[in-house]
């Protein structure tokens, strides 16, 4: 079974600074997707960024980028120029692309942004 591990329960960053959230996963599959979702106090999970395992190039979405290390099974999220609105729970998630299965989530990292 696939597992997703987020080893940082809480992280803090100063406004305008950069922060990196860590995620590792375990799988025997070769084709899969990885995601970072943001969950603010409003509760709705919002997709931040997605990475296909077959792509070597790291995904980027504006201030958000990932460092995808397939061999190490590592998938970290970097947030640049942090803003107060970035404060939220961040969840890393895995989904198989072979079986079209559903997502497996990590336990989450609570990000605080200090003004």
């Amino acid at each position: 079974a696939q597992t997703v591990t987020q080893s940082q329960p809480e992280m803090s960053v100063q406004e305008a600074e950069t922060v990196t959230l860590s995620c590792t996963y375990d799988t025997s599959e070769s084709d899969y997707y990885l995601f970072w979702y943001k969950q603010p106090p409003s509760r709705q999970m919002i997709l931040v960024i997605r990475q296909e395992a077959y792509k070597q190039q790291n995904a980027t979405e504006n201030r958000f980028s990932v460092n995808f290390q397939k061999a190490a099974k590592s998938f970290s999220l970097k947030i640049s120029d942090s803003q107060l609105g970035d404060a939220a729970m961040y969840f890393c998630a895995y989904r198989s692309a072979i079986h079209d299965n559903d997502m497996r989530f990590g336990a989450g990292t609570r990000l605080t942004v200090k003004p």
Partner: protein
């Protein structure tokens, strides 16, 4: 275009009762999944529906059941509620074969 909508937003039930939660997927989406998110934890997969059939199921007892209608909307039913069923229940929809899923705002269920 409306996103994923869930109802109700909040619900309080008594131990032993039954509850039904509802989800309307985003337009064009045919796959609906349900997750349980306990306080301070990540979402746990309950089951997934596609073409009105349960296609995949997580590690949840038979007290948790579901249904998908021809218009792709879905219901989650929980029987014989336990205090431990108190959680945020999230619905996610996507188009089969597409990577990303979109979530509703969830239903906060409290069992007393």
């Amino acid at each position: 275009d409306a996103g994923v909508t869930q109802s109700p937003t909040h619900l309080i039930k008594t131990r032993g009762q039954q509850v039904t939660l509802r989800c309307s997927p985003k337009s064009g989406h045919d796959t609906v999944s349900w997750y349980q998110q306990a306080l301070g934890q990540g979402p746990q997969f309950i089951f997934q529906y596609y073409e009105e059939e349960e296609r995949q199921r997580g590690n949840f007892p038979d007290r948790f059941s579901g249904h998908q209608f021809p218009n792709y909307s879905s219901e989650l039913n929980v029987n014989a509620l336990l205090l431990g069923d108190s959680a945020l229940y999230l619905c996610a929809s996507r188009r089969t074969g597409v990577a990303e899923a979109f979530f509703g705002q969830g239903t906060r269920l409290t069992v007393v």
